[in-house]
Each structure stands twice: as structure tokens, then as C-alpha cells.
């Protein structure tokens, strides 16, 4: 692993899902088990509007929501300057391998399958987050090295 082993702490997670019960479970889980701050949104459009100012460390989104699919939401996030590099994790109840591959191809950090185990959810998100941060660092270092050698 390149660079500092210290990763910036994951303290703030945003979760978007049209199912209010699931939102509540995620919030409780991450707050009690993961000791994270959680911002919940039942509507993807509203989330898009508010996330810009909230700047969460990770965004957790459902794959199928009324009005906007997870992919559409993801593309909108990538258009926003502030949220362009925020790791996005999809949650899906449709466990088709093709669907998972599609999200990863799109640029998702990871996919969590529903129903998830609440006791390990915070850890899973942490692992995905660290993986992204480390990968980004590695890329930055490579880019720097590439520049200096020229």
C-alpha cells in the first residue's frame, strides 16, 4: 500500500432510499454500531439538492427508487463539482450478477446486497471507503511520479 497508512476517518454517511424503514435501520445501525453521522433522504432529487452543502464522506443509494433510478442519481452526482469524487455504494435487492457488474462499471465503489447484516454494514462501508481512498492516493502518487520523471 502506497502513502500514509492513515486514512481520513469516515464520519459522515448519506443514505438515499425510498423505503423509510430501511432508511431508519441504516441510520440506527451506522449510528450505534459504526458511530457515524448519517443523513437520510427518502427522495433522490431532494438529496441531490442538499448533498452539495452536506458533503458526506460516502453516499449510500438504493438502486430502484420512484422518479429516479440509482444509476441516474449516480450520474447526477458525478456532474456536481463537490460530489464528483465522493464514493458511492449501491444497495440492491436484485442480486443479479449482471446488475452488480453494471454498477461497478458505472464507477460505483461497491455494491451491498439487501437484506444486509446490520452488524457488519458499518464495517463493509468502511472497507469500501478505505479501498477508494487508497486507490485514489495510489493514482495521485503515480500521476506525480509520472510528471516528475518528465
Amino acid at each position: 500500500m502506497e502513502g500514509s497508512p492513515m486514512t481520513p476517518p469516515l464520519s459522515h454517511v448519506a443514505c438515499v432510499d425510498d423505503d423509510r424503514d430501511i432508511l431508519e435501520i441504516v441510520r440506527l445501525t451506522l449510528e450505534t454500531v459504526g458511530e457515524m453521522k448519517v443523513s437520510c433522504f427518502g427522495d433522490a432529487k431532494k438529496a441531490l439538492f442538499e448533498l452539495e452543502s452536506l458533503k458526506p464522506d460516502v453516499i449510500l443509494t438504493d438502486s430502484r427508487m420512484p422518479g429516479m433510478t440509482g444509476q441516474e442519481f449516480f450520474r447526477e452526482l458525478r456532474r456536481k463539482m463537490v460530489l464528483r469524487e465522493t464514493p458511492v455504494i449501491f444497495m440492491t435487492a436484485r442480486v443479479q450478477p449482471e446488475e452488480i457488474e453494471e454498477y461497478l462499471r458505472l464507477g460505483a465503489t461497491g455494491v451491498i446486497m439487501k437484506p444486509f447484516n446490520p452488524m457488519s454494514l458499518a464495517n463493509e462501508i468502511q472497507v469500501f471507503y478505505e479501498k477508494t481512498i487508497n486507490k485514489k492516493r495510489g493514482d495521485d502518487n503515480n500521476a506525480k511520479r509520472g510528471h516528475s520523471s518528465r
Binding site: 435501520i25 445501525t29 439487501k114 437484506p115
Partner: protein, 508 residues
């Protein structure tokens, strides 16, 4: 011969038939030419003889008259010469009279009259007049062939008859050339008739050939279309009343059958698709509420365990294990559908057997403990390093199914043995339990879907009856085989065979 009747096209066969008829007609014509020539020749000569004999009988009354009255001899002779000399028949038939000395008495060529031709020859040197006289002297009458007139030399055959009372010879003849021309005229007419006949035959042969080959070709095109999946065809020939019609009717029956089958297939595909979509939606719709239920229960069990009354904890544990069961069932349904639709994706990679088996045992350890059973892994050195090509997740799914079954059916405190054995170019993985064995009546349905042995023991052990069916399909998709041996009261051994990776086989 079979080549002709099996390989050559029908129209070509009909052409061949017409050609054979043409050859036959040509042969017949050439044979009949010679025959007709002879017949016509004879007919002409007979005609000449007949005319000469008639003329002779016309002359005879004058001869008898002159014998009765010799004074009338000269007058009678003159009258006869005039009358006979002026007689004509056919195209250029005439009579001539000469005396036995060879002097011409009457002839259409007036310059010859009065001349003695006894020593004169024709263009081929034949002494024709001398021959006439000799013939008459010897036989009284007969035919003589020569070339006439002497300057032109056309072959001629003449019949001559003598009148000894007057010392005369009367004759008339026909030219060979005239007979030839006549034959040729007849022959040309015959040939024309034969050619017309052949053309008519050829025309009908083409029509016949087409009337047979075209419908056969069109029917074979229809059948090819049907075979290629294009079922929108119209068998219009079925209205015909001949053999082609019955063939077309049979084709129509076949096409209609194919259309029916295709319709049924399409409906079945539609139903399968709908079923697939239904299962997918149902599984999604089940997972969403399950997320909240599981989340709630596990969160309570995970974070508030100590503050809960024992009874609540007991009930929550029941809820948790049933959530797991429901989740497994949803997963199994989805797998079953993907296997049935041929959409199950297997991503195999070479895996070392020892770690795989230990990991499988580890995954199922807590489940086995629920049934107070323990999993023991035994793996020899060769088996430890053996490599098999499997999809790791699916391999664990199969082993979890076998191990959980073994746990369910093990007696309390029982041991489950998980072992492997290299057998030639494959490795056999065994899961052995010491349960009561599989009832004989159920043994042939073990791998059928939704099948589960119905015994007092199994009633409360749960399960969808899909696990072994899915396991069998997964093992087959990973190029392996699955089977079992069971003994009543002693236990059951489920085994799975996988081919060893070729790279590993070469290594030791």
C-alpha cells in the same frame, strides 16, 4: 440405371425419352425408305407391264382383222401406229413400236422413226434394241434395263411384248429417277410429320417435366423455409387433385403442425419469461421488507442483548433463524429460475482443495452447532494441494447445502466428516453423516426439486426441498458429478467429483 432414375433431373429424363423417340423414328424412316423404294419400283414396273399388256390386247383385234383380210394389213398397221403413238400416261409415259429388225416404227422422238437402232447403244454401251428383240424372241415379253435417251442417259426400265404376227415389238418404261423423286417427296412429307410429332412430344415433355418438377421444387422450398424457422408460408398447391396435391396436403399438415409447435413454444417462452420476471420481482419485493426485519432483529440481538429478558431473546433467536430460512428460500427460488432459464453464470478458476474444504467447514460450523453436530475435515497431502476448477461461491453453496443437510440429519453430538480423495484424474469430496439414512422410497427423488423425505424426523428440520436439486445443477455446471450412498440406520455419504486441473496433474 439407378443413377439415371436417382440423379438426373426429371426434365432431363423426359428430354432423354424424347431423344430416344427421335432416334427410333429416324431408324424407322431409314428402314422404310429402302422398303418404299423397292415397293414403288415394283409398282411402277408392274404399271408399265400392265399398260403394255393392255396396249397389246388393244392391238390384237387389228392383227386378227388383217389376218382375216390381208388387204387391210397396211391400213390396220398404220391405224395402230397412229393410235398407240399418240397414247400418253403419267408424267411422261409413252409407248413405242419397232419391228424385229430394229427399225423404229413409232416414237415420240420423231427423228428416231424409220431408223434401224439394232446396233445402236445407250450412254453405257448397252445394245438396248438388240436386247429387246432377243428378249421377245426368247420369252415373248419381259423387262429390260438401260439408259435413255442415249445422249442424256437416265436409267430406265421398260417392259416389252412381241406381236409375232406382225413382227412387232411394243414397249413402254419408267425412269428410275422419277421413282426416286416420288420416294423423296413421300419421304420429305414423312420426315416433316415425324419432326412435327417430335416437337409436339418435346413441348409436352417440357410441360410434363415442369408440372412435376416445379411443384416439387416449390414444396421443397416451403419445407426448407419451415426448417429455417420461417413459418409464414402458404401451401397453395394443396388444392390440386393429383399426386402432387396429396404431397402438398401432407406438407400443409406438416407446416400446420410446425406452426402449432412454434406457437406453443412461443407461448411457453412467454410464460417462462413471465415466470422469470415474476420470480425476480417477487424476490426483490421479498428482500426489501426482509431488510427491515432482519435489520431490526439483528440490531436488537447485536446491541441490546444484555438488556433483554430471556424470553424475548429466545423469541428473537427464533425470528432470526426463520429470517435466514426465508432468505435462503428466496435465494434458492432465484437460483432455480436462473438454472432453468440457462442463465446461471459460473465463473470458474483453479482453487486449491485443502483451504477450500476448511473454509467450507468454517462457514457451516455455527449452523452445525445448532444441531449439536461437529464438522471434521480430513485431507491428505495429495488432496491438500490438489487443484480443481470451480466457482468458489457456488462451490461453497453446494458444500453448505450438503453440510447443513448432514447437520440436520445427524444425531445430537454426531460427527460430520468432510474428506477428499484423489481418484485418477478426478477428486472425490465426501460429506458423511451418521444419521438414519435416506428412506428407500425417497432415494430416487433426492435430486428432484421441491422434494423432501417425509419422516417424523425431518418434519421439524425445515428446508425448501430445492437445495439438492440446485446443488446437482451447480455441480454439473462446474463439470462435476454428485451422488450419494446411504444405509438405513448407519448414515449417508454425499459425494461430489470434480476433474483435477491439468496443470496440477502434471506437477507432482
Amino acid at each position: 440405371m439407378s443413377w439415371l432414375f436417382e440423379r438426373v433431373k426429371i426434365s432431363a429424363r423426359l428430354f432423354l425419352l424424347v431423344a430416344l423417340v427421335a432416334i427410333g423414328i429416324c431408324g424407322l424412316l431409314s428402314l422404310s425408305y429402302a422398303y418404299m423404294r423397292d415397293a414403288l419400283f415394283e409398282q411402277n414396273v408392274n404399271q408399265a407391264r400392265h399398260l403394255v399388256q393392255t396396249t397389246h390386247s388393244l392391238i390384237m383385234p387389228y392383227v386378227y382383222e388383217s389376218q382375216a383380210d390381208p388387204a387391210k394389213l397396211a391400213e390396220d398397221q398404220q391405224r395402230v401406229l397412229r393410235r398407240i403413238g399418240s397414247l400418253r400416261y403419267g408424267k411422261d409415259g409413252y409407248f413405242w413400236i419397232n419391228d424385229m429388225n430394229g427399225v423404229m416404227l413409232t416414237h415420240p422422238i420423231s427423228s428416231l422413226v424409220g431408223q434401224n437402232l439394232r446396233e445402236s447403244t445407250d450412254s453405257k454401251g448397252i445394245l438396248y434394241m438388240k436386247n429387246f428383240i432377243n428378249l421377245v424372241e426368247a420369252q415373248g415379253q419381259g423387262t429390260e434395263t438401260y439408259y435413255w435417251p442415249p445422249t442424256e442417259g437416265r436409267q430406265k426400265i421398260s417392259y416389252v411384248i412381241g406381236i409375232p404376227e406382225w413382227n412387232w415389238v411394243v414397249g413402254s418404261g419408267v425412269y428410275f429417277e422419277d421413282i426416286e423423286l416420288e420416294i423423296r417427296a413421300i419421304f420429305i412429307k414423312l420426315a416433316l410429320a415425324a419432326m412435327t410429332l417430335l416437337f409436339v412430344l418435346l413441348f409436352f415433355a417440357i410441360l410434363l417435366g415442369r408440372s412435376v418438377s416445379q411443384p416439387i421444387l416449390s414444396l421443397s422450398h416451403i419445407l426448407s423455409d419451415v426448417a429455417a424457422g420461417n413459418l409464414d408460408v402458404d401451401v397453395s398447391l394443396a388444392t390440386r387433385g393429383d399426386e402432387i396435391g396429396s404431397m402438398a396436403k401432407a406438407t400443409q399438415v406438416f407446416v400446420e403442425h410446425a406452426q402449432r409447435v412454434a406457437r406453443i413454444e412461443a407461448e411457453k417462452a412467454e410464460i417462462d419469461k413471465a415466470k422469470s420476471a415474476f420470480i425476480s420481482v417477487v424476490s426483490h419485493e421479498l428482500r426489501t421488507p426482509l431488510t427491515s426485519i432482519r435489520g431490526s432483529v439483528e440490531l436488537i440481538l447485536g446491541t441490546m442483548k444484555t438488556s433483554l429478558p430471556e424470553k424475548a431473546l429466545y423469541l428473537l433467536n427464533i425470528a432470526q433463524s426463520n429470517i435466514d430460512r426465508l432468505l435462503l428460500l428466496v435465494n434458492d427460488l432465484l437460483d432455480l429460475d436462473r438454472i432453468a432459464a440457462g442463465e446461471m453464470r459460473i465463473e470458474s478458476a483453479p482453487e486449491q482443495l485443502g483451504p477450500l474444504l476448511r473454509q467450507a467447514a468454517e462457514i457451516n460450523r455455527s449452523y452445525a452447532e445448532k444441531y449439536y453436530a461437529r464438522i471434521h475435515v480430513t485431507c491428505g497431502y495429495q488432496e491438500e494441494t490438489a487443484t480443481i476448477n470451480v466457482d468458489k461461491a457456488r462451490f461453497f453453496q453446494v458444500l453448505s447445502n450438503l453440510l447443513s443437510n448432514a447437520a440436520k440429519f445427524s444425531p445430537a453430538g454426531g460427527q460430520i466428516l468432510l474428506s477428499a480423495e484423489v481418484m485418477g484424474d478426478k477428486v472425490r469430496i465426501k460429506v458423511v453423516d451418521h444419521g438414519s439414512g435416506i428412506p428407500e422410497s425417497f432415494q430416487n427423488r433426492v435430486f428432484q426439486k421441491f422434494s423432501q423425505a417425509q419422516t417424523e424426523e425431518t418434519k421439524d428440520r425445515g428446508g425448501s426441498g430445492l437445495g439438492l436439486h440446485i446443488s446437482q445443477k451447480l455441480v454439473e455446471l462446474m463439470k462435476g458429478r454428485i451422488g450419494f450412498e446411504t444405509k438405513n440406520g448407519i448414515g449417508t455419504t454425499f459425494w461430489v467429483d470434480f476433474p483435477l486441473c491439468s496443470s496440477w496433474k502434471e506437477a507432482p
